[in-house]
Symmetry: C2
Subunit: 260 residues, 2 copies
DNA sequence: CAGTGGTCTAGACCACTCG
DNA sequence: GAGTGGTCTAGACCACTGA
């Protein structure tokens, strides 16, 4: 929602959105050919530039593949997730047709501890708002989330019911500039408390994702430490030598994916 | 090497390569402005199209950022890794200025077990070549690699010294069409044998990356199950709302990254 | 061989940044 | 306000696909 309504003013964005819709709705099935570029030109009444730009977007999302000499084709695995799905647990879970949930353990505004001062590039004595929540999928405990927000946006959270839904979506809707994030993924043993909350044994391997979220200006607005039950969630990376999409597609998946 | 020499025939590819070189060599430092598009046009003697295409490539690699109204700027964190670095342990480790190593435990050509038949989409009774290796960084055991290769390319490995270096590079150099891969990342406890080889305790959390590598035609050529010491390697994902790069950048990093 | 996408040119308008 | 990148048009040539 929030993301799509941003860049639809340009023609290529509208064209991409329409084709994306046809693919997602199934009216263009897997393996089908898309109309040729010249077809699309006359259909949308534009020149070739916007058409090619729209196709490039879909290609970068992994929805289509293009080959010289033949029309674009709908790709087998539409792995693409919107960027919101990657930042927001709630958005991601809903996109999978499941129900996200959360139980807040703590929300506090306090002076940042030294480690956090360093991690967020704060000045000594600055306040942050810290939140600890258990996140659930269809009622099943799946992830422990520890977040710290820059005071400028964190204060708004003190009046937000953090049990009610997505903090991320709330902040975006209130104009927070959460523009880019860096995630570091590794594996850690479950601490006793986390183990109990997630329903695993102490020391069981958890998939840890640490995130730093920045504004367009580079200001660090949020950091988080999310620990997933590895049997309930994993990370999926798709990666191709196709010259036109040098960067991979990343998605979170629920449950262990059978076919790799 | 192998990857760069592919698409340098077109003008935009040569332009991108030259600018990339200037960034990587440091003659364009972090934060510096690139020449404006019209400068680049006259400098390279081309029209605006190829210039913009080259800049789009660099943007998708995370090397530069562009803003309307000001020249492109060299990005803070050049996370970009070549696609080879993501597929090949050796290539990745070397790119980090360290020395890759490997110790082969087993290489065997045998009929695929039922699980592998399913995973690789084989027919019953087909042969595969399976390899188990311990991978090292600067002599330190870091990862256990279990791979299975489609017989068509696996046979070449029986005469290859798998202790000598990168299987992936060997296969690519011999014309194997390893075009796209899907990686699933999660966390698992170390089995007794793996624990001993990696120098961790049994049950310690390992970062597991399971890969399926396909040819352009979709034929599954390789699957692997790599398990990393989580304190020696992690995954890094960079992700931006910038409309023109919808997909994230993914890199492997050595050691835990201090600043998230 | 007809049609396709990949690439390039030349020119234009607009929104934006920054001095 | 001058210069920048984002977008679009119109036309062209070539390499490749597939019937």
């Amino acid at each position: 929602m929030t993301a799509d309504s941003i860049a639809l003013f340009a023609k290529h964005g509208r064209i991409a959105a329409q084709l994306r819709g046809q693919i997602e709705s199934g009216s263009l099935a897997v393996g089908d050919d898309l109309p040729s570029e010249s077809d699309l030109q006359s259909r949308f009444g534009v020149s070739r530039g916007p058409i090619r730009q729209a196709l490039a977007t879909l290609r970068s999302e992994g929805l289509i593949e293009t080959t010289q000499g033949r029309p674009p084709r709908v790709r087998a695995q539409p792995l693409a997730q919107s960027i919101d799905d990657f930042f927001s647990f709630s958005s991601w879970v809903r996109a999978q047709g499941k129900v996200p949930g959360q139980r807040t353990f703590e929300i506090a505004r306090r002076r940042a501890a030294p480690a956090l001062v360093a991690r967020m590039g704060l000045a000594d004595g600055e306040f942050v708002v810290e939140i600890v929540r258990l996140r659930l999928i269809d009622g099943i405990p799946t992830m422990i989330e520890r977040s710290a927000f820059h005071d400028s946006i964190g204060k708004a959270l003190l009046t937000f019911d953090t049990d009610s839904g997505s903090i991320y979506e709330y902040l975006i809707d209130n104009g927070a500039e959460l523009d880019e994030g860096t995630h570091v993924v590794d594996a850690v043993p479950a601490a006793p408390l986390d183990a109990e909350l997630l329903g695993v044994e102490t020391g069981a391997p958890l998939l840890r994702v640490r995130r730093v979220t920045r504004s367009r200006r580079g200001l660090i607005l949020e950091t988080s430490d999310d620990r997933y039950r590895s049997d309930h969630a994993s990370l999926l990376i798709y990666n191709s030598r196709n010259e036109n999409r040098p960067t991979p597609i990343v998605a979170r998946t629920t449950h262990t994916v059978a076919n790799a």
